[in-house]
Amino acid sequence: MTTMSVGDPILEINGLETHFFTRDGVVKAVDGVDLTVGKGEILGLVGESGCGKSVTSMSVLRLIQNPGEIVGGSIRFHGEDLLHVSEKEMRAIRGDRISMIFQQPVGSLNPVFTAGSQISEVYEIHEGLKKKEGYARAVEMLRKVGIPDPEQRIKAYPHELSGGMAQRVMIAMALAAGPELLIADEPTTALDVTIQAQIIDLMREIRNDLGTSIIVITHDLGIVAEIADRVAVMYAGEIVEEADTKTLFAEPKHPYTRGLIGSIPLAGDRREWLDVIPGRVPNLIDLPGGCRFAPRCRAREEAGLTMCTEQRPELTGVNGEHTVRCFLYQEGAK
């Protein structure tokens, strides 16, 4: 965990709504999400599969395709709403000012092009370099992300690279044009544990050396604890809690967050049963009215609250920067 002082916000997401219009109904994958990322800040976006975290990140780059559509909200990058710029301007931003890396690094690279040509491509389209110059810069980037013998490696095809190596190539490609924001969608999920640690270290160095802001999207709380400055927890398309990392792990407020943290088996912990959160993630087409977590919430039962199933709680501040979406922490809860 690092505690660097973070600069002004560069990305402000407000009330983002991304829906998928399928044959079986409208899937409200992202339903009113607010997020802010500051300069040089590492934000962790945590949640189970299907909670909408990937869709959120794809929405930032406007990469949502049919049948999905961004239907509401704003995404301000340095004050400019990305949802209202032209496609051409958006293309200039992708890969150049905001970059993204994905989960399966080998599969995310085009198998018929070499690593070098794919990195060089970023220079060719965003800085107008010729192939030769692009390749030279690619070698430099590979060196920067810690790949040994980069002059040879640029000629490698993706299937010749190991998982960790491929992810480094992807990172090199993402950072090539010097973006201010890097979105990492489950960057280490498909990798070996020891390699995971290396990639996390790499990302931290990137932030420290280049000042790049990073959004790390993951379901792995361990990663978030390692590297994030602040954490936002997502559930069923909404942010349910947000705080700086230390606080979140020390004093989790939302019952879901507490469930997540509580279900991590700790070395030296002597328990008979692993705490799990009962029930399942709700169907995003047929959402229950009221708080989305209510059906699974033990705290609600114990506190005897009835408004949870009828009204939807708003995100409210608890302690300075710490916000929660839960009636337990609101005045006059019944």
């Binding site: 994905f102 399966q104 198998p111 491509e121």
Partner: protein
């Protein structure tokens, strides 16, 4: 990659030997007496004895096969009973016609089929897509001979006095005799030059015989279109399906995330990958083309390998059947080898071996 090539080549050898054996066996199994087929029903037994001796037809089978192999290796495919000329001579005369037809059909199939597939795939489920796929389904279901006959009717009868009229049969208008290029340029007349000159379209083009060229061209249109239809439909469907497969893959998402124009995403990143299975399909289509050529040439009265082969089968001209079938099968094997080569060149994942 050279090693891979060599390996593939070596593994085709047993197949080729198998082909030789099969062709040899099949030709021998065709009912009927070769002697009487060649010399007529009234040949006497004595004459046939002499005939059989002469052509080694009394030797034990393995000896005949051995002689056959030796002959093939030295390029001697025997003599046609019907025409009285060496089989190779017939091949030289007639193979180019089929090759031109097949090439034209393949060209049409690829040039029309691939873009159609791309457009359909990209505009998945749009009206264009649905229409194209319905068309492709119908195209695949059409019998070549029926299509050929229908085209003949439409363009030679129905549109007879319109500028769209097309000749329904033959290679050239009656009375037109092309001058082979070797004659025009004073080159020696041998097997190779004769072979090359039988490519009527090419020959007319390089010697600038305009009238011949346009006549040959017009005569080629209908048979080529008829022959091209099924491969076209298959190629369109395959391209579409391959493109759709690729568009759903992760690296296409990455390409977009890098800020590439949609056109680049499709043409540069997706197509290279989608074309891989399509290339193989094109190679396999070659077999369809060769099979279809038999029917097309019969309908359009073109003297190519297909028609000659069929006539030879019905008239029991064994050596022609043997020789031509062999050539067809071997060229099919060669084409597939080439396609494999091309595939290896295009797909780096396959190169490691």
């Amino acid at each position: 990659m050279g090693r891979f090539l060599l390996r593939r080549f070596i593994s085709s050898i047993p197949v080729i030997i198998g082909i030789l054996a099969l062709v040899f066996a099949l030709a021998r199994m065709i009912p009927g007496d070769p002697c009487r087929a060649a010399l007529g029903e009234r040949a006497t037994d004595e004459i046939c004895d002499l005939y059989n001796e002469r052509y080694g037809l009394n030797d034990p089978i393995h000896v005949q096969f051995g002689i056959y192999l030796k002959d093939v290796a030295t390029g001697d495919l025997g003599e046609s009973f019907r025409f009285g000329v060496p089989v190779t001579e017939l091949l030289i005369q007639r193979l180019p016609t089929t090759m031109e037809l097949a090439a034209a059909a393949l060209l049409i199939a690829v040039i029309v089929g691939v873009p159609l597939g791309i457009i359909s795939g990209y505009r998945h489920n749009s009206k264009t897509d649905v229409a194209t796929m319905i068309g492709a389904n119908i195209g695949v279901a059409m019998p070549v001979f029926w299509l050929g006959l229908m085209l003949q009717y439409i363009f030679a009868v129905f549109l007879r006095d319109t500028p769209l009229a097309l000749p329904p049969s033959g290679k050239l208008d009656a009375g037109l005799i092309p001058v082979p290029f070797y004659e025009m340029w004073g080159l020696p007349e041998n097997g190779l030059t004769e072979f090359l000159s039988e490519f009527t379209l090419m020959n007319a083009l390089v010697t600038l015989q305009g009238e011949i060229f346009s006549s040959a061209f017009l005569h080629l249109i209908l048979p080529a279109v008829a022959l091209a239809t099924i491969p076209l439909a298959i190629i369109a469907r395959m391209t579409r399906s391959a493109l759709l497969d690729v568009l759903g893959l992760d690296y296409v998402r990455t390409a977009r995330a890098k800020g590439l124009r949609e056109r680049s995403v499709i043409l540069k990143h997706s197509l290279r990958n989608a074309m891989l299975p399509v290339v193989t399909i094109i190679g396999l289509s070659f077999g369809l083309l060769l099979g279809g050529a038999i029917l097309t040439e019969t309908i359009f009265n073109l003297a190519g390998v297909g028609k000659t082969l069929f006539d030879a089968i019905t008239s029991r001209d064994y050596t022609v059947v043997q020789g031509f079938t062999l050539v067809v099968a071997v060229s099919f094997v060669m084409v597939n080898l080439l396609v494999d080569l091309l595939y290896t060149y295009l797909d780096p994942r396959v190169r490691v071996s």
